[in-house]
């Protein structure tokens, strides 16, 4: 036991003395959460629009005013002729163009021939479809108001409840994802590279010939990263709650339980990679390509899994971060209890056991 403590302390010294790495280890998660929480948003605000309005009547003025006062749009150009449409798009500053038909109000009330063209810059399909959706909604609202004034019969009223996230904050969705990414990056990447480094520099041999059982050697390597990961998790949690205003609706205990299991999975993956190679560069690239990319792409961190082709959805099932992020969303945002995430906990535990077993076996083989 004393040997174990000595070795663990050595590992801590390695990390603590390398100030740059230490700083990066602690600052990285915080910066990521701030970037993702504030900067990287799929919500659309203050998008610039242009208007061509040959009618200039009551209806068009009202619709323009409604668009302008919404938080989504800023009116930046008022065109005088339809010839300008092409030109404005080439400049690439305008996301959406609203083009009214002639004699708009008259047609709107009497003939039903009134037309609005919503021309969006389709280079970014996401933004384009969101912008046209928003604009349509606002125009429909105006129509609704016109209708309401006339007190229509047979009206259906719809009551809407937005569960868990009534103000539709993007951070609610992204924070659990960032937690998964950060833990995976720090645990797996750092462990694999630090062990590969010891092998590359030849210091691993010295440890391996000591009378310590391999299990303890491995443990002493991972304990510091485990500790740092827990600190990082706590930091991210604090930042998410106090800076981003993301609630913790479920129990902290469950959050930590799930996170600890996930950290084990990540550490085991790191060990496994380091047992395959003894070059830092290779360990790094394998972790980056083999772990980071799938986490960013397939875990549901940013991109919804249900939109993916079936084969990729299948691959997503074996990505630990997918289950972790799901569990964290359930507990943190939805406020579910441990019983409701038992499936995720079970799958993650199973992965942890299998991966730890595999990496220990690999590690022993190298000793012989």
């Amino acid at each position: 036991m004393r040997q174990f403590i000595t070795f663990t302390r050595k590992e801590f010294y390695h990390i603590l003395r390398d100030r740059w790495t230490m700083l990066m280890l602690l600052a990285f998660p915080l910066i990521m959460i701030i970037l993702f929480g504030f900067g990287i948003t799929t919500e659309i605000k203050n998008s610039k629009i242009a208007v061509y309005d040959p009618s200039k009547d009551l209806a068009t003025q009202n619709i323009i005013k409604k668009l302008e006062t919404s938080e989504y749009f800023i009116l930046s150009e008022y065109l005088n002729s339809p010839d300008q449409i092409e030109l404005i798009f080439k400049e690439g500053k305008i996301g959406l163009m609203v083009v009214f038909s002639e004699r708009f109000y008259e047609n709107l009330i009497h003939t039903g021939d009134a037309q609005i063209l919503l021309i969006a810059d389709g280079t970014d399909p996401n933004t384009a479809s969101t912008l046209t959706n928003y604009a349509s909604r606002i125009i429909m609202m105006y129509l609704q108001e016109l209708t309401d004034i006339e007190h229509l019969p047979f009206q259906i009223n719809t009551e809407v409840k937005l569960l868990y996230n009534p103000t539709l904050e993007g951070a609610y969705n992204i924070v659990p994802g960032v937690m998964g990414m950060v833990l995976m990056l720090i645990c797996a990447l750092m462990t694999s590279v630090s062990i590969a480094r010891e092998k590359e520099l030849g210091t691993m041999e010295v440890i391996l010939v000591s009378p310590m059982p391999p299990l303890l050697i491995v443990l002493s390597k991972v304990v510091p990263y485990f500790t740092i990961s827990l600190i990082n998790f706590t930091n991210v949690l604090i930042l998410a709650v106090f800076l981003l205003g993301v609630p913790v609706n479920g129990s902290l205990f469950t959050l930590y339980l799930v996170s600890i299991i996930f950290i084990f999975v990540a550490l085991a993956l790191g060990l496994l990679i380091s047992s395959v190679t003894n070059r830092q560069l290779v360990a790094l690239l394998m972790s980056a390509m083999g772990l980071m990319m799938p986490v960013v792409m397939l875990s549901g961190l940013m991109f919804p899994i249900e939109n993916m082709p079936l084969i990729l959805q299948g691959i997503a099932q074996i990505i630990p971060a997918k289950w972790y992020i799901e569990a964290i969303r359930d507990v943190m945002i939805k406020g579910l209890g441990p019983a409701d995430v038992i499936k995720e906990i079970g799958i993650l535990s199973l992965m942890a056991v299998v991966l730890i077993g595999a990496s220990l076996k690999k590690f022993k083989i190298r000793l012989e």
Binding site: T21, P153, E159, V160, Y164, Y172, V282, M289, E306, N307
Partner: protein, 370 residues
């Protein structure tokens, strides 16, 4: 002298058991998989229906919802709490509750009520899902009204037609937008990481010491490290353009020459940045962490996944410091809009600025002696 150094770099690269494969496989993987994945489109919304009314109206409404194509009815629950359980276990995204006597109330009291509850953890999906559903209901409401008032043909309410049109990408193909930007991401990862790690591992192995004691000039040494990544960058770009054409059927609307010209400057900038990092890092671990940190920040701030215009002001200012922002604009404009060199002058000068800045810094900070 440069020739000998280049010969060495290329031989080392070719003999590395991992790197040549990486340079070929990584771009292919990213360009094949990412466009399928990086998609925020809201579709396939799972809907739970609670129909207490079980009338012809309620059935019609449900039919209309199904016919819209946005929703999969994955569940028909008896009670609200059953449906909520489905939401909790992610088997459903939106609940539509039709109260009993919906049809009777609408016909007799001229007023019906419906309830929508949406899982808004993913705000985008929750919000848009609700909006789609409300549009369908309002349309349904219009039909019912026309039917009940018996004036189906006469215009009862103000009516207008909204026609969305999409410039440059009429059918809103997502890959058309993503593929050019992903090329940039791949080049940034390969041409940024590799030079940084290359120099630091020379430091760690001690081979750089033997170099430092020769009269080789700083500039020559740095150039010998840069040129191979230019070649590799061109190779990566060519692979990317190939995948874009053969898999995604995407052909640049502009000139290929424009692409290669801008990519040349971009690679110079990002490799220069990698060299700067390598000059400050002592261990591979440090270099790698710094690169991860900066390259990820560059990527996320570049407008690759989320439009820069949507970011808060401070993030927009920050995004100006990401060289990736400019080259992504260039690639998208050349691929989609066919923009020429004249349209891209601001980007040209920005990238040139980055390239000069990072490389001067790299030469300045590379110390042959301590």
């Amino acid at each position: 002298m440069l020739g000998y150094l280049l010969e060495k770099e290329f031989k080392q690269f070719r003999r590395n058991p991992f790197l040549p494969r990486l340079v070929i496989i990584f771009p292919m993987m990213v360009l094949l998989v990412f466009p399928l994945v990086a998609n925020f489109e809201v579709k396939n919304i799972d809907l739970s229906v609670i129909d207490h009314d079980k009338s012809s109206y309620s059935r019609n409404l449900i039919q209309k919802v199904i016919a819209s194509g946005y929703f999969n009815i994955t569940d028909v629950s008896e009670t609200y709490s059953d449906a909520i359980e489905k939401i909790e276990s992610d088997r459903s995204d939106v609940i539509l509750e039709i109260p009993s006597n919906f049809e009777r109330d609408l016909v007799r009291a001229s007023r019906g009520d419906l309830m929508i509850s949406a899982n808004a953890v993913n705000g985008n999906k929750g919000g848009l899902g609700t909006a789609y559903l409300m549009n369908i209901i309002s349309d349904f409401n219009g039909n019912i009204r026309a039917e009940l008032t018996g004036n189906a043909n006469k215009l009862q309410v103000p009516f207008l037609e909204i026609i969305p049109l999409y410039r440059y990408n009429p059918s809103l193909l997502y890959e058309v937008y993503m593929v050019p930007a992903l090329m940039v991401m791949v080049m940034a990862m390969i041409c940024g990481f590799l030079p940084a790690l290359n120099i630091v591992s020379e430091k760690e192995n001690g081979t750089i010491e033997q170099m430092n004691v020769t009269p080789v000039q700083k500039f020559t040494f740095i150039l010998a490290k840069l040129i191979p990544y230019w070649v590799i960058g061109y190779l990566v770009l060519t692979i990317c353009i190939g995948v874009a054409y053969f898999v995604w059927d995407i052909i640049p609307a502009g000139f290929l020459g424009t692409l290669y010209l801008f990519v040349t400057i971009f690679i110079l900038a990002i490799s220069g940045f990698g060299l700067v990092i390598s000059n400050y890092a002592i261990t591979v671990q440090q270099a790698m962490f710094m690169m991860f940190f900066f390259v990820l920040t560059f990527i996320f701030m570049s407008g690759l996944y989320t439009p820069i215009e949507n970011m808060p002001d401070w993030a927009q200012i920050l995004s100006n410091f990401s060289p990736l922002k400019y080259i992504i604009q260039v690639l998208r404009m050349v691929f989609l809009k066919g923009s020429g060199f004249k349209d891209l002058l601001p980007q040209f000068f920005s990238l040139l600025g980055f390239a000069l800045f990072f490389n001067s810094w790299a030469i300045y900070s590379y110390k042959k002696s301590s």
